[in-house]
């Protein structure tokens, strides 16, 4: 039995070759790029527009965006039937295909984020390199650290005021240029779906816009969520006898944390409203115009996928956090719950688009159900199953932690 046959349940009249080919990992990919784009936009709100209240979370978001970016190609690699040929996208890109944009956009975006991080941390990197160079009795770990920081300097040790000014200017430019590129990184994923005229659910010019809007929502939410988690860890360390190098008291940290989260949440709510409006507009339009595909789509949206769409995505993932975030006197705890639900809501949106679009047959007279493999029995059921999804979800945080060992997230003695 073919793997795609294993997790597809066909009902009524479905063409013989139709299966759910784009399964769990294809749901994960736009989810990941959305988080990447959203995190970057949040960071740019400070670095480009100078919104001072977001200063604390700005560099945090940028590093998180990079960690997410490093994992973003993984769902695609896991999905490809011939992953070892993935470089062909860079070798012979067919730009009439939206997927071919992946090569260019990834490369450009990665360059921008990496460069911006470099400029942001350059002073710290140079200082660390010089300090380690002069240190006597370097052990193995120190030697590795010295090597890393020296390589990261890219050969420049100039940290005069003039150089730092240039860095600041570069950050501003990159933050500005990066926003449209980040939007393109996720917008093209929306175009990948929206331009498929063969798929009645995906085909809409609104798709790239909906994707970008919900991407920003998810990215901002994830940054705020991770920021809260990181701050809680910091606070725990401070109150714990073995204190870290951070001097601020618990009270002060809580004050900063609440302020940052409240401001971040305001931007989140704006994008959330925009994102929901677009999706509802699309739904209303389809029902009103009622083209040939409407009968089967109506069955999929209002009956088969009712729980997935209206309960999980709109109610639990959008409405509930909306209410939670708009209620007065927002607390960290309430914000954490709301943010988690928002991220879940965006994940369900990706699921409902990717899987939902394959829930009906091209015949418009049959259905397909997706039975995601839960327990991995072989590599196929692992990579396109629950554990494959969990791997992709977990890895960015692991990379993020590793990056935070090299580039501190809450350092304040840097050009900003």
């Amino acid at each position: 039995m073919l793997p795609e046959e294993m997790w597809t349940l066909k009902e009524l009249f479905v063409y013989p070759n139709e299966y759910i080919y784009w399964s769990a990992q294809i749901v994960m990919y736009p989810f990941m790029t959305g988080l990447v784009a959203g995190a970057f936009v949040l960071s740019s709100l400070y670095h480009l527009f100078g919104i001072k209240q977001l200063k604390e979370i700005a560099r945090f978001s940028l590093v998180l965006s990079f960690a997410l970016l490093m994992v973003a190609p993984l769902p695609l690699l896991l999905h490809l039937m011939q992953p070892q040929r993935n470089i062909y996208i860079f070798m012979t890109p067919h730009f009439t295909s939206a997927i071919a944009a992946f090569g260019v956009v990834l490369f450009v975006y990665a360059s921008i984020v990496a460069s911006e991080i470099w400029f942001l941390y350059r002073k710290y990197i140079v200082e660390r390199s010089l300090a380690l160079k002069q240190k006597f009795g370097k052990d193995f770990a120190d030697s590795i650290r010295y090597l890393i920081y020296t390589v990261l300097t890219l050969g420049s040790f100039d940290i005069t005021e003039k150089a730092i000014q240039q860095d600041r200017r570069a950050i501003r430019i990159l933050a500005g240029v990066g926003i449209p590129v980040a939007c393109f990184l996720h917008g093209y994923a929306g175009f990948v779906f929206g331009s498929v005229k063969a798929n009645a659910l995906w085909m809409t010019p609104l798709m790239p816009v909906i994707f970008i809007a919900s991407a920003i929502v998810s990215g901002v939410a994830l940054c705020a969520f991770t920021y809260i988690v990181a701050m809680e860890i910091k606070k725990f360390r401070v109150s714990h006898p073995k204190a870290s190098e951070v001097q601020a008291s618990r009270q002060k940290m809580e004050g900063i944390e609440t302020r940052v989260v409240v401001i971040t949440v305001r931007y989140l709510v704006v994008f959330l409203i925009f994102s929901i409006s677009l999706e509802l507009l699309d739904l209303v339009f389809r029902g009103y115009t009622a083209v040939k595909s409407w009968d089967i789509l109506r069955n999929v949206i209002y009956e088969k996928d009712f729980v997935n769409i209206f309960i999980l995505q709109y109610a639990v993932g959008n409405l509930v956090p909306f209410i939670l975030l708009l209620m007065p006197r927002l607390t960290i705890r309430r914000a954490t719950v709301a943010l988690f639900l928002v991220i879940f809501g965006v994940f369900m949106m990706r699921w409902n688009v990717v899987i939902g679009g394959q829930s009906f047959s091209l015949t418009f007279s049959g259905y397909m159900s997706y039975l995601m493999p839960m327990i991995p029995r072989d590599f196929e059921t692992y990579k396109e199953g629950l554990f494959g999804v969990l791997t992709v979800v977990a890895l960015p945080f692991i990379f993020f932690w590793i990056l935070s060992r090299v580039l501190p997230l809450f350092e304040t003695t840097t050009p900003e």
Partner: protein, 153 residues
Amino acid sequence: MHVLRPLYVVLLLLGIILIARVFIVPKDFGVYERGYTYGWHRAGNAEDWKAVKVQYKGRDYCVACHTVQGQQISTSPHRIIECENCHGPAADHPLSPKKLNIDRSRDLCLRCHTSLSYPGSMRSEIKGTNPDAHNPGIQCVICHHPHQASKPH
């Protein structure tokens, strides 16, 4: 100017990709008759497909040796069915495969001879039977000769 250093790294990576391209991309990969949208490919592939081995040879190939069976079936309504439909593709027979399959199963006959009364379809014109009622489980060829269907076996 230290500001340009990241750009140098990016250009270096780009250079590596462009150099790799020279080695990885086949020389005949390019834009052909149907333009960039529909004709962006490795030209040699069309020849690869043309070189695929033919499996089905057609009746003339079979009756060149199997004249008796050819004769038998030529007067039967079954003459419209290619030999290889029931016996499988000739390929390089008699070299490979040495023998072709003689499928005596009921299912083979029931493809056409399960009676389906479909108004407007040629299927209704075929003499058929209800497989569940007419000697279920027994091979059709025990009574019916496939090459001379109108004659009793």
